[in-house]
Subunit: 147 residues, 2 copies
DNA sequence: GTTCTTGCAAAATATTTGCAAGACG
DNA sequence: CGTCTTGCAAATATTTTGCAAGAAC
């Protein structure tokens, strides 16, 4: 008899979203879960566990499906590369700014910095759908190595 | 005898930046000056006056040169398209948020909304180089026409 | 005349799509 | 078995680059 060490969180998320539970998609969700910061397609592909092959195009396709289902948030931070993170702010979306290193490209969540309030400052008639706030520079490691 | 109606602002900017005063580059600066909001390469190319031909690749090259010279600021707002505006905030950079319409793609400067302060909230060791804050949704025109 | 700009074509990068084959439920 | 996923290749879109010819200083 095998004791389940932890629940199949990824599988549950997929099931609830009406998506099929394939090894590739579960792997992506687990990778995002462990990273706890937004990852690019490339970063995700590099972390796929041995035995799980998933073409990069299908990584995009999976992320697109997750996005539609509201499982992930897509962060764009000025370098024309999508980064994806699991939604974890109650509502959809990553409701905090991000820091992007211009040298190594890593993204970090600045969870302690509040997004500015904005809605009542836009004139009537506008529809607000998303907002993004990011800071770019050198992360500690790259700054230390004079990156 | 011809009275000069206005000074050659574009020419002066180019001269001071050490760039040659060609009709194409002066046209780009004038276009950005009149627009007073960030424009894409495509928007700039569409506005080139009759008689001024400038290959789109060279529009990019010119904007790149202006960027290096500190004449323009490059805004990236989540749709993977660069937008450029003349620097006009004293220091380099557009120190205010932007609104991008998800329907027509137009950018607007939200000059009345302050950028949040941030520097002392990032831990020591980080180097901050840029920041961007943008809001996306539907502009008044597109919202009215149910875009 | 030397250096900066341009035109044109081709490359580079990130992402998306078509379609037949395969896996899930 | 029908539908959702995948693999692979090719298409897209935006921006960048190489190089020879042309314009500015």
């Amino acid at each position: 008899m095998v004791i389940k060490m932890k629940k199949d969180i990824a599988g549950n998320m997929l099931k609830e979203a009406g998506l099929k539970r394939t090894s590739g998609r579960k792997a992506i969700i687990n990778i995002l879960h462990e990273a706890s910061r937004p990852l690019t397609q490339q970063e995700i592909s590099e972390r796929l566990p041995a035995g799980v092959e998933l073409n990069y195009a299908n990584v995009y396709r999976s992320l697109e499906a997750f996005l539609k289902a509201g499982l992930v948030h897509r962060v764009e931070t000025g370098d024309r590369v999508w980064r994806f993170a699991l939604c974890g702010c109650g509502s959809r979306g990553h409701c905090h700014p991000h820091f992007i290193c211009n040298s190594c490209g890593a993204a970090e969540c600045l969870r302690d910095i509040k997004m500015p309030g904005f809605s009542r400052r836009l004139e009537k008639g506008y529809v607000i759908q998303e907002q993004e706030y990011y800071i770019k520079g050198l992360c500690r490691e790259c700054a230390a190595s004079r990156g």
